[in-house]
């Protein structure tokens, strides 16, 4: 194995240009599990944790190297809430937003937040920088659109982020757990509501019918809340696996959606 530990973005991109298929190592919380338990032996590694440019957290831009620990007390309530549910202090000190995007797991904790906001992902190579919407970037279970030679440099939030926002996830215990279902909801002053759910489809899922229905309700009645939950349960597309069943995930999706909405009214 060869490893490069660049101290600047420019150095990292140069290293990546000469080894476009190098394994990019951020917090290591996903890659090292593969190394320890699944025999992954990367030939070339580029370690990213020394690059200051990737650790910047400013305005709409969350550098890909920003750890969950730093987001736990940030200005966006839902982002702080989700960050506090990630793993444990040890994992939050290591795990980054860029790593969550790179792994693109259906259970990625930050992904429903980015999806509900229609956030963008910024990628850089030695030659160019490009920005794409979250759903152009995350394209399947652990699949994304990053090309060889590219590095995820930031998640970019929209200019307007509704103040009323909430995140919640269901798991078998509160620490060290991969979500069974997760959800993040935003409710704007004019009623416009967006919600994205994790662990219920190959990529974060936006239940569009439910969003449209509840966005038209300025002060939703109990019946409207119930209908919102029903539509969310209908629109999600979960599977049965070792963590839960399709039926439970479908039911829980509706419960979580309604609960988050009620917190934002």
């Amino acid at each position: 194995m060869e490893s490069v530990l660049p101290k600047s973005l420019q150095e990292a991109l140069a290293a990546l240009e000469s080894e476009p298929d190098a394994t990019l190592l951020a917090g290591g919380t996903d890659i090292m599990v593969e190394v320890n338990l699944a025999g992954l032996r990367p030939a070339h590694v580029i370690g990213l944790r020394r690059i200051d440019e990737l650790r910047q957290l400013e305005g709409r831009r969350i550098g890909s190297g920003v750890t969950y620990r730093r987001l736990e007390n940030g200005e966006h309530v839902a982002l702080a809430q989700l960050s506090r549910t990630v793993g444990s202090p040890q994992i939050r000190n290591a795990g980054t937003i860029g790593g969550n995007l790179g792994t693109a797991s259906p259970a990625g904790d930050a992904l429903p937040f980015l999806a509900a906001l229609d956030a963008e992902v910024e990628l850089a190579s030695a030659k160019a920088t490009r920005v794409m919407r979250w759903d152009e970037f995350i394209v399947g279970v652990k699949k994304n659109s990053r090309q060889p030679g590219e590095l995820i440099t930031a998640a970019i939030l929209p200019e307007h982020v509704p103040q009323r926002q909430a995140f919640a996830k269901i798991g078998v215990r509160s620490a060290m757990v991969i979500s069974t279902v997760s959800a993040c909801l935003f409710r704007d002053d004019d009623g416009t509501t967006t919600i994205a759910l994790g662990s219920v489809a190959p990529i974060p899922l936006r239940p569009r019918k439910a969003e449209a229905m509840i966005s038209a309700e300025k002060s939703p009645s109990q019946a409207a809340l119930a209908e919102f939950a029903r539509l969310v349960s209908e629109e999600v597309s979960p599977i049965t696996d070792h963590r839960s069943t399709e039926g439970y995930r479908r039911y829980a999706s509706g419960v979580l959606a309604r609960r988050l909405l009620e917190r934002c009214l």
Partner: protein, 152 residues
């Protein structure tokens, strides 16, 4: 093999690391520091907790090759000669040790946290130790040891 140099418990050390092996493996097998324990090797249990460049991490999830020029503190670096670190002493005094396998991880995590937050609430302490698992389920004694220490 990749040659790295790093500071471990205040001493400059160097190591030739194999392939993508973890910091945990290098600490135990190359640097003769077996205090950090290998258990789950997937970041779930905290028995391998160390402080890397000022942050508590699971050393099983750190690639040793990524530690060149890093500063590491392990459980071996807590005692001053024969004098135990207050967290170690509190664990002994309160019977916060059963089989002992999880103990180094708990001690490193608690010492690091209490250094920066000497007076946490019980909930904060539990939250900060949520990445350390004790399969003897001796949490009560561990928390009593640390809460007693925090109040002193």
């Amino acid at each position: 093999m990749i040659d790295i140099t790093l500071t471990v418990n205040g001493e400059d050390r160097s190591a030739s690391v194999r392939d993508s092996e973890s910091l945990l493996t290098v600490l135990r097998e190359t640097l003769a520091l077996p205090g950090s324990k290998p258990a789950c090797e997937q970041g779930e249990c905290g028995s391998c907790s160390v402080v890397l460049d000022g942050e508590l991490v699971c050393s099983c999830l750190v690639m040793a090759a990524d530690c060149d020029e890093s500063i590491v503190r392990t459980v071996e670096g807590l005692a001053q000669g024969d004098k135990l670190h207050p967290v170690q002493q509190a664990m002994l005094d309160s019977g916060g040790v059963q089989c002992g396998f999880c103990t180094p991880g708990f001690v490193v995590a608690a010492a690091h946290y209490l250094d920066e937050n000497p007076d946490p609430s019980s909930d904060e302490l539990r939250e900060e130790l949520s990445g350390n698992i004790c399969r003897c389920t001796g949490y009560g004694a561990i928390l009593r040891a640390l809460e007693g220490l925090a109040q002193r």
